[in-house]
């Protein structure tokens, strides 16, 4: 994978990406993050919580995928009322993107998987 700063900067410029983060896969701590795009409804910064819980969820999804004999997950997308959380694993880290509902998810997916492969 490229330098984490570059990965975050590139992902954060994809239309619809509200925040992009590189997160420790085992500890769920943020390694590098972009700024949050737009308002946060007056509530606290959601990035730390999102990073920890998305990394945790991805580890459980990996176990589920392996239990189903499907191998490791390639891409995880959680669809919520007001947007999506996308996660891709890249060895010791996971890439996490908070994405708006109107984003081009195909582009987000492609760019995240490309970044995870280190291209």
């Amino acid at each position: 994978m490229k330098a984490v700063g570059q990965v975050v900067a590139k992902l954060s410029h994809v239309p619809g990406v509200v925040a992009a983060m590189v997160v420790g896969a085992n500890d769920g701590l943020i390694v590098e993050t972009s700024a949050m795009m737009g308002a946060t409804d007056g509530v606290g910064d959601p990035r730390k919580h999102t990073a920890a819980l998305a990394a945790y969820l991805y580890s459980k999804v990996t176990r589920a995928s392996q239990a189903a004999r499907l191998g490791n997950p390639a891409f995880m997308r959680l669809e919520a009322e007001k947007g999506h959380i996308c996660v891709v694993g890249a060895r010791d880290v996971v890439l996490v993107a908070i994405v708006s509902p109107d984003a081009n998810l195909g582009r987000v997916r492609l760019d995240m998987m490309t970044a995870a492969r280190g291209e």
């Binding site: 997160v23 420790g24 701590l29 919580h49 920890a52 945790y56 580890s59």
Partner: protein, 161 residues
Amino acid sequence: MKDPTVAEAWVATPLRRLMEDARLISGVLLYPSGRAVGQFGFSNAADVMSICALTSAINASSRELGRQLDGKPFQELHHAGAERQVFMARASAGAQEFLFVGVFDRESSLGVVEIYFAEFQKALEKLRPEQPSAAKISPPRDFEGELNRSLDALFGPIGKK
């Protein structure tokens, strides 16, 4: 998972929530003096006694180390072992300070423990009793006596079970 046992009833709900949400294996909430306030995951008073004494000592030494290195005490301490990890942090409810030490494994992560510990802190602040408990306003006693009294509250008096 067994419910926490507590010496002060108001900490039971936040402690249970922390245990469940952060998927902790075991944990102890104590005063910096070493007196236990609540615990989960332990069935043996001697284990809690050791943890309270060690946590109290680690807090005192790391606080002083933080003060010397950074001009202020460290807020939390984390040790990642091969299988299990230890998270230790300070919490406060009003003027009263607490220490918490928790153990987790790969079923959780440091990030997850940190976010639920922050919620635990908020719950302590919200639920703290208006009047300090009788135990808290009693004059300071010897460390060993304080520890034994709190362990009696958690596990029952030794030899009377």
